[in-house]
């Protein structure tokens, strides 16, 4: 049963994408059907894995090293399920966005012909990345995700968005090639690309160190780690809101997920103390730089996008927190591992909620400039409430998933005797409160006398970001289940 579920989770989005290309401009219903079916399969799979343990498939019954292994363990199903929840919300949001108020149901154009298929291909690629245990298969998955994501960034065809898409593409391509270089070196030295078979073998040769450095650098560039983050804010702020939600919430997590698998599944014990410290330091710099830049932005979507730079920074603290004295030490790292996964998942939910909120605000107000958002709270109360809930999670206030994440990271920092990392987490939370307060305050201000009105937005659409924000909160309220699924360090 469970292998079939895993097969469905992987193939349903792909079938949906092909179906959407086949039907042309009527792709919306196909996408909704594919999304709901995948969501059901992903949640069911998560329940099965929670009760019966991890599911593994050897593709075509060819076992590694010859074939490709797909494994849905605890962390994998958490990512699969979170992705399914976010994607379903985005698809439901986009059904109304793409037909648009002005164009009606007859709208034809490149957008309706391509958007659904690209979104579903991106989803399929993400699912592949979360379960594949083969480094080359992960490369193809990464490229599929990157090309679909780049196309979504540029889909509106304005000069700024095309420039953002190009910048993103260049970073993504450089990152992929560095990753591929590492994979080629690992295969040449070990005769396999299966993470399970590589485990324990890595780090014995100088070429492994080179491979690991290249792959880490490439994946860090794709995850927008400071200072490789310059592509992210214009890309995420320039894409249409439905795409931004996915790009900001999920796509950088995919490359980070591979990085975590590479470091902690394959256990490169020769990594030395420098690498983890460097990654952690850059992560800390990202938290501070991203937050400060978010404070300076005047547009809502740019604030949210820079916030992503900062929130992704936390995810790199796991490297110094887990590594002690040069070797990776799983014993003390469990809190850091779980904290990182909680941060990845709760940020995904909260950030997707925020971008959908921003999309609704733009639909209602026609822009997202802070100084002219006065009165938004009155026009879109549910949306602003959802934004506030999502903000609670990003700030790390109880009872949200973000709170659990930051608590675990701080705990790990003190366990490790490295209070500096805890300080970064606390400071990042304070800065998040500061930069998220600005749009909320702007929206709650009373409008001046001659302020333009707001277009109406259906309540059921406002419920979508609300559901995501509540999910981010629920991750903190019901943290025991996910925490158990995450397990300790692999």
């Amino acid at each position: 049963m469970s292998p079939a579920l895993l097969a469905l989770v992987l193939t349903l989005p792909l079938l949906g994408a092909l179906g959407a290309v086949a039907v042309g401009r009527h792709g919306g219903p196909v996408a909704v059907a594919a999304a709901l079916a995948t969501l059901a399969a992903a949640l069911w799979l998560a329940v099965r894995v929670a009760t019966d343990g991890a599911v593994s498939i050897a593709v075509g019954h060819w076992t590694p090293p010859l074939g490709i292994r797909l494994t849905a363990d605890g962390p994998a199903v958490l990512f699969l399920a979170t992705t399914a929840v976010i994607m379903t919300a985005v698809v439901l949001y986009a059904v109304h966005w793409i037909t648009g108020p002005k164009a009606g149901a007859d709208r034809d154009g490149p957008m309706v012909h391509t958007f659904w298929a690209l979104l579903l291909l991106l989803w399929g690629a993400l699912n592949v990345i979360f379960v594949s245990r083969d480094l080359f298969n992960l490369y193809v998955g990464l490229e599929l995700a990157s090309l679909a994501a780049v196309a979504l960034v540029g889909i509106e065809g304005r000069r700024e968005t095309l420039a953002a898409a190009l910048r993103y593409l260049l970073f993504a391509l450089t990152g992929s090639l560095l990753y591929l270089l590492g994979a080629a070196l690992l295969y040449s030295a070990h005769g396999t690309l299966d993470l399970g078979l590589l485990a324990g073998q890595l780090g014995r040769h100088p070429s492994d160190l080179l491979a690991l450095a290249a792959m880490t650098a490439g994946l860090a560039a794709k995850t927008a780690l400071f200072p490789f983050h310059v592509w992210l804010p214009p890309a995420h702020a320039g894409a249409p809101p439905a795409a931004s939600a996915v790009l900001s919430a999920l796509v950088p997590k995919a490359s980070l997920y591979i990085l975590l698998r590479l470091w902690f599944d394959a256990e490169p014990d020769g990594a030395g103390p420098v690498g983890p410290l460097l990654l952690g330091g850059l992560g800390a710099a990202a938290v501070l730089h991203g937050s400060l830049m978010a404070l300076r932005q005047q547009r809502l979507k740019l604030i949210i996008a820079y916030s992503t730079v900062a929130q992704l920074g936390y995810l790199f603290l796991v490297f110094p927190l887990v590594a002690a004295a040069g070797a990776l030490d799983p014993a003390g790292g469990d809190a850091a591992w779980r904290g990182t996964l909680f941060q990845a998942l709760s940020h995904a939910l909260a950030k997707a909620a925020m971008f959908l909120c921003a999309g609704l605000i733009i639909e209602a107000a026609g822009h997202d400039r802070l100084e002219r958002l006065a009165g938004t709270a009155r026009a879109l109360p549910i949306t602003l409430f959802a934004f506030g809930l999502a903000a609670i999670s990003l700030m790390g206030l109880p009872p949200s998933g973000g709170f659990v994440a930051k608590l675990l990271l701080i705990e790990a920092a003190f366990e490790r005797g490295a209070a500096a990392w805890a300080l970064v987490v606390l400071l990042g939370g304070l800065l998040a409160a500061a930069y998220l307060f600005r749009p909320l305050a702007a929206a709650w201000r009373s409008p001046d006398g001659d302020a333009p009105g707001f277009a109406p937005v259906a309540r059921r659409r406002q419920a979508l970001p609300m559901a995501l924000a509540l999910a981010a909160l629920g991750l903190g309220l019901f943290s025991a289940g996910p925490a158990e699924l995450m397990g300790g360090l692999p």
């Binding site: 065809g157 304005r158 190009l166 270089l181 080629a184």
Partner: protein
Amino acid sequence: MNLPIWMPYALCGAGLIGLGLYGLLARPQLLRRILAFNVMGAGIFLLFGALARRGEIAYADPVPQAMIITGIVVAVSATALALALIVAHAGAGGGEGLPSDTPGGGKRDERGDDDARDDAGHDRRIPGRDRRRNEREGAAR
């Protein structure tokens, strides 16, 4: 000299990787960066394929070969998308390269030495100092 046959190709691959990486990071024109991307990709493939030829067996390992073919197709897909984006970007009023990262940091028409010469002999006519260049070229012919 007893160099194994794969060695020059592996070293060539290593050189291509460096060349491509440099071009990808440091060349200003988008088209050239896509060229560099392809050079770097080809270098990785060549290195991979050369290293797969090291064994004593008379034929090459088919697994890297299949991966390289997959990689070539992925590279051409990325190239096609990138080129279409570059043309669309220019069509929407963008430049040959991307605007500078820091806002207000770089002016749009500022050009480096390489770029000015990059168009030498092509159908673009730039007044001012470029006329001198045209004359110089005319003399050279």
